[in-house]
Amino acid sequence: MSETAIKPRIEKVPLREQFFQKLPVLLVPMLALLGLMAIGNPASWLTLTVAGLAMGMMIFIMASGLTVVFGLMDVINFGHGAFVAVGAFVGFTVLAWLAGWTASPSVMLNLAAVLIAILAAMVVTGLLGYAFERVIVMPVYGEHLKQILVTMGGLIVAQQMIYVVWGPDELHLSRPEAFQGSIVLGEAAIEKYRLVAVAIGLALFLAMRHILKNTKVGLLVRAGVENGEMVEALGYRIRRLFLIVFMTGSALAGLGGVMWGLYQETITAHMGSEIMVLVFIVVIIGGLGSVEGCFIGALLVGLLANYTAFLAPKVALISTIALMVAILMWRPQGIYPVVKAK
């Protein structure tokens, strides 16, 4: 027997191509630098950058579920915004119950209240996601046209149910004591809550990457994205996997909803469909199905929205559309297109 075992040959990608693949990562610092040049004043630039990052992180939290769901099962959920709104309403209700905790100066009690609110919102939206998947999405697997229509119908019904349960008025709630106010850094004032949002978003992104890259579930999800039939042929029930991913995505939307609600301090039943516009732009920029692309896209949109809101407030939303157009001209399938082995 010869000792030469057959080894898989892994071709080394040339440095130039590696660089081009990593290029999108540089987009965020590039945009930040451009912003600095356009704004001029470093203090306001810092404030805006932190605000942009916070906004980007929150959008990422909401968008990540959507993009993974699409990658895995080719299902796009136009009703995703409903989870955001429901999450925000549940979170606010819980926080209103715990008014004693949120008003107290103790940081621990504040944190506990927010955590309980987030947990409640995630449980409710996760369960709602379960119902949504079973009742609304399951019968129309593989039919894009019907999916769009039916999930849109689900969004309408969910929004109306919010009116039925919580009434037609918008809810106001001020943030817990510990998250109010801002830190002054040199001349720049940075809201505390934005730092919290950035931290949560970053932690979530890293956790998600870790799960996708280093765990069995993550491996199955990645395999399912690439070739679902093969995963099924190997004996894994991809439907159940998909259900788990769908519920997680919905729960994340709920989390995003609570965070967004605390950020704005005002929530309405149709906040979901308003945010969905940004979420869709982010998902398109990132490439449908790609978590990393979604992350970069979210940061780009968050930063750009805040810079333009400062420089030329009237074109804030248009600028994100322009960004989308520019990215799509460069890479028609988004920053990191998901390759399907089909």
């Binding site: 769009i148 039916v150 119908g153 149910m161 516009v277 398109i284 009237k314 074109v315 939303l317």
Partner: protein, 353 residues
């Protein structure tokens, strides 16, 4: 002759024919059959929405493309006419050039969006149009120096189309023959002509190819049809039709604002009308629009009665409150996508066999 007028696409169902005739006759003689301002408003709205919904069906039903930018084109048409009347005075000339300019701008927009995003999946197009349309709506309400912002524009239209103009001194059949009536018939006949044009389009070889592209794009491409070209043309055509419907609305209401033309609510209304009426047949648009607008105007009163009757039961009364009628339509919408995707018209036609 009649078949020719309908481009050979007859209703093909007894009940459907009767329903369509009822709609046609009621709309044609609306001012005499249902006197009163509210019913005339409703009738004109139905006419305009039939065109709007039919043009959306051209996309959704015939081409299998889901677009959320249809209200954007509707709004462009309305604002085109409104701005022309507002800036260069209430003359027919400005009315016509405003309408044409609106249609042209809508066509260019549709061409750009189509070429840009129709090459990839249908889902992609839906998402891009949703983003672009909502950005456009925000943009319009912020350009307040030009568009009047959230308040919209009030403007004058040619005198012959206003209630102040008396065509005949005496009442005819108890109805004043004034400019409002002329305006109504302008809307009615324009809508009828636009509808017949669309009927012609979908029954032409072009329309047949669209259906082929919808059912199997890969195969159509293989036979030698350029799929992107057909899809883009359908998008542009439907955008122009929507813009013309928008111009009609602008003339009828003498007011144009974001809430009446650009809002997401109207987009959802159009979607509901197409699906409930029946996708892939223009007669579905007629029934869908008529039923929906009648329900919107009159069903809410009925629900108000139901809410009062059940006011003792706490949850039920909130569920049937008049403001919650969209909830029930949403449920109906989901059910109709599942169980009868061909809508009312498809049901009626299937029932004939």
């Amino acid at each position: 002759m009649l078949t020719r007028l309908l481009s050979g696409d007859t209703p093909r169902s007894g009940l459907l024919t009767v329903l369509l005739l009822i709609v046609l006759i009621s709309l044609a003689f609306a001012p005499f059959l249902f006197p009163g301002t509210k019913s005339l408003e409703t009738a004109a709205r139905i006419c305009i929405f039939i065109v709007l919904v039919a043009s959306y069906d051209l996309l959704l039903g015939y081409s299998g493309i889901v677009s959320f930018a249809h209200t954007m084109f509707f709004g462009i048409g309305a604002y085109g006419t409104a701005l022309a009347l507002n800036t260069s005075g209430p003359s027919y000339g400005s009315l016509i050039w405003g309408t044409l300019a609106g249609a042209l701008v809508a066509a260019l927009f549709a061409l750009a969006i189509g070429l840009f995003s129709l090459r990839v999946k249908a889902i992609f197009f839906a998402m891009v149009t949703l983003a672009v349309a909502s950005a456009f709506a925000v943009f319009v309400s912020q350009m307040s120096w030009l568009t009047g912002g959230e308040d919209g524009l009030n403007y004058k239209i040619p005198r012959e189309l206003t209630p102040a103009f008396k065509l005949v001194k005496e009442k005819v059949l108890g109805v004043r023959i004034n400019g409002k009536l002329v305006a109504y018939y302008l809307v009615f006949f324009a809508s009828a002509v636009l509808f017949l044009i669309m009927l012609r389009v979908v029954n032409s070889p072009f329309g047949r190819t669209l259906k082929a592209v919808r059912d199997n794009a890969f195969r159509a491409e293989a036979i030698g049809y350029r799929v992107v070209w057909y899809r883009t043309t359908a998008t542009v055509l439907s955008a122009v039709m929507a813009a013309l419907a928008g111009s009609l609305l602008a003339i009828w209401l003498r007011y144009t604002g974001p809430a009446t033309t650009l809002s997401m609510e109207i987009m959802i209304d159009i979607l509901l009308m197409v699906v409930i009426g029946g996708m892939g047949t223009l007669y579905g648009a007629v029934l869908g629009a008529t039923l929906f607008i009648l329900a919107q105007t009159y069903l809410q009163n009925l629900m108000g009665v139901a809410a009062e009757a059940t006011s003792a039961v706490p949850l039920v009364s909130t569920l049937v409150a008049p403001e919650r009628w969209l909830l029930w339509l949403g449920v109906l919408f989901i059910l109709s996508v599942y169980f009868f995707p061909s809508g009312i018209v498809g049901r009626l036609r299937a029932g004939r066999a």
